[in-house]
């Protein structure tokens, strides 16, 4: 079968204050990626990256984004992503922020699988941050649930928050 081969880049948005929830949409990330490519690689870069570029998934709570690009241009994308320094916050201002690339996968499914695994690993660090007892017990329960139950990965990923 002949098809376009893609690569999915899973990245984490890192803001200064990491516990707030920002209203970042797929459109905003898409524009940011395009802008940085234009700045670094000019019109030539835009021409290369535009076909196939899209932001497939964004999670405001875990602050994960998944960006898709053509396989040939993966390097172009991954080398440009670290240069993003701001994202517009929707109110006309700029939010200082950067993207940390965590994983590159060949399909959305593979990335989701990896994301679930990753989220499980991150849970214990969240436990350490809990201040009250009630929070801690809820956290423990949540960790317990996520590690035991083997359900549809997609739903599970959302429950993690």
């Amino acid at each position: 079968m002949v098809r376009f081969k893609h690569r999915y880049v899973l990245a984490e948005l890192i803001f200064g204050k990491d516990l707030l929830i920002y209203n970042i949409t797929q459109r905003v990330v898409y524009a940011a990626v395009r802008d940085i490519i234009e700045q670094l690689h000019g019109r030539y870069g835009i021409g290369l990256i535009t076909p196939g570029l899209s932001v497939k998934y964004i999670n405001e709570y875990t602050r994960m984004v998944m960006v898709r690009c053509r396989r040939e241009n993966l390097k172009l994308l991954t080398s440009a992503i670290p240069f993003i320094k701001h994202l517009p916050d929707g109110k006309g201002g700029q939010l200082p922020c950067f993207l940390r690339t965590l994983h590159v996968g060949g399909s959305i499914r593979a990335c989701q699988k990896w994301l679930v695994q990753h989220n499980r690993q991150v849970l214990p660090t969240l436990l350490l941050r809990c201040t009250s007892k009630e929070e801690k017990s809820r956290m423990r329960k949540s960790i317990f649930n996520s590690t035991l139950v083997k359900e549809e990965p997609w739903n599970e990923g959302k429950d993690d928050t």
Binding site: I37, Q39, L40, H41, G42, R43, Y44, G45
Partner: protein, 119 residues
Amino acid sequence: MKRIVSKGDAPYYYLKVLLEFEDKTMAVDVLTFRTVIMKAMMSMYGEVGAAVQIDILKYEDKTISAILRVAGSNMVKLWGALTMLSYYDEKPCAFRVHQVSPFLMAFAASSRQLLLHTE
């Protein structure tokens, strides 16, 4: 007797170019000329392209022509960027690439310019 054969990509490429402005009276000094090239690279290949080392080996400000030297791997980029340039400072202009060669020596003669006419 010893023989070294280097095939394939040459370390440097040389381009003989001429910058033409619509306004023929434009005076361009070598710094401006370098900036025009850099701007052309900037718009086509972004900051990465603008960072490419380009040497102006020879510059004639009367004709606004120059001999450029660029690393072999960036030659196609430079040529492309020069071709796509159409404005500098909102003045229409264009680059003419006269000769391209991996050997600087080749610019010392150009047999295509040898035009002989019988009366």
